[in-house]
């Protein structure tokens, strides 16, 4: 770019590199652009002077501001030592109460999370056993024959109509934990209803629950019982 400007204009190319953009597109020959340059410099020098002027003004303005900042910091330090001991105790008491409230909130939230994780993810929760038993029911040919292909399962109905709670009983027999579950299945096409009874026993070696029996009571007129699994 400097080469195209011609030798006479080299002296001012430093100032004018910004003004170059102001000139827009389309530079003609080197002499033509130099002519255009000659009109630009006064404007450029004025703007340059203005920018330097404002910078200097800014530097001057910063100093008294800086001084006042130092003064205000010192005043704050002096004021702090005058806070009485009673106010400190009150503030400490307030902070302590807030701390206790935060702790209680975290404790309650953590407890709720623990309950829901245990319910959903641990293999010994009634919900998990209900899910496994439902899968076994769905893949049993006799059940499919009675209820149809799509089977839905649900538990006890609560007041609002949500049927998520599966009724279960835990008891100890011969030193081992047993759990009995009862849930309902329904064929969506045939409309038949059935009650599934599951019992699981704790296996001490693996620590998980193993199925003892699963059977289904079908609500037809001659009551029918389909045994899915019997491991007694």
């Amino acid at each position: 770019l400097p080469a195209s400007l011609g030798r006479g204009c080299l002296g001012r190319w430093l100032l004018a590199t910004r003004g170059w953009a102001l000139l827009g597109t389309g530079t003609g020959t080197g002499s033509c652009s130099c002519l255009r340059w000659r009109h630009q410099p006064p404007l450029l020098i004025r703007t340059a002077r203005q920018s330097i002027g404002t910078q200097a003004g800014g530097l001057k303005a910063a100093k008294p501001g800086g001084d006042s900042k130092d003064v205000s910091v010192q005043r704050a330090l002096n004021e702090e030592t005058l806070v009485s001991a009673a106010q400190k105790v009150k503030e400490a008491g307030r902070d302590f109460t807030y701390f206790i409230v935060v702790l209680v909130g975290i404790g309650v939230t953590g407890g709720l999370f623990y309950v829901i994780f245990k319910e959903l993810f641990s293999s010994s929760s009634p919900n998990k056993i209900y899910g496994d038993a439902l899968e076994k029911c769905r893949s049993h040919p006799e059940i499919i024959g009675v209820f149809g292909d799509s089977i839905k399962g649900y538990g006890e109905a609560t007041r609002r109509g949500r049927r998520q709670h599966v009724s279960h009983i835990e008891y100890v027999k011969d030193g081992l934990k047993h759990m009995r579950l009862k849930f309902y299945i329904e064929g969506t096409e045939s409309g038949k209803q059935g009650t599934v009874h599951v019992e699981v026993k704790e296996n001490l070696e693996t620590g998980r629950f193993e199925v003892r029996y699963i059977f289904v009571d079908v609500e037809t007129y001659p009551r029918r019982t389909i045994v899915i699994e019997d491991n007694r």
Binding site: F113, L120, N127, G161, Q164, I169, T188
Partner: protein
């Protein structure tokens, strides 16, 4: 007894929507009454009129947004129950997350993810509280049936194995 014989799911949506609107309207009404009372000029008449105006304007808005949340949540919940075929706490948590995501859809994908996380966590907490309550209520009645024998529907156990 008729309400136990019918399917809860489609009717549950209307139930939840209405219940959420009532909760939002009553809660919003109380809150706006106090706020309108305090933000009015001095004088009991002015204050009462101010709180009444605030209730009339703001409480239905809050009720409406609660109703949208409740209705959408119940719709997604019922759809999941229909799809999966079983009723689970997982349905509620996923429904909460999806509701949060859908209601923040105007603010872009990142806001949707954040809103979904909040909705899911909130519903997980509510489910945990519900489970705790049912467990607590069931331990109030310690006398269950004495179960020492297997039920009569099963045949006697096979002697081999």
């Amino acid at each position: 007894m008729e309400e136990y014989a019918r399917e809860p799911c489609p009717w549950r949506i209307v139930d939840d929507c209405g219940g959420a609107f009532t909760m939002g309207a009553i809660g919003g009404g109380i809150f706006q009454a106090i706020k309108g009372f305090r933000n009015s000029p001095v004088g009991v008449n002015h204050r009462l009129r101010g709180s009444l105006t605030a209730i009339k304007t703001r409480a239905p808005q809050l009720g409406g947004s609660f109703a949208v949340w409740g209705g959408l949540f119940s719709m997604i919940d019922c759809s999941m129950v229909r799809m999966r075929g079983k009723e689970d706490p997982w349905n509620s948590i996923t429904s909460g997350a999806l509701t949060g995501a859908i209601l923040a859809a105007r603010n872009g994908p990142v806001a949707m993810v954040g809103s979904a996380a909040m909705g899911g966590i909130l519903l997980a907490l509510i489910e945990g509280a519900g489970i705790l309550l049912t467990r607590f209520a069931s331990t109030q009645f310690p006398n269950g049936p004495q179960l020492s024998e297997d039920p009569s529907q099963l045949q006697p156990p096979p002697f081999s194995d």
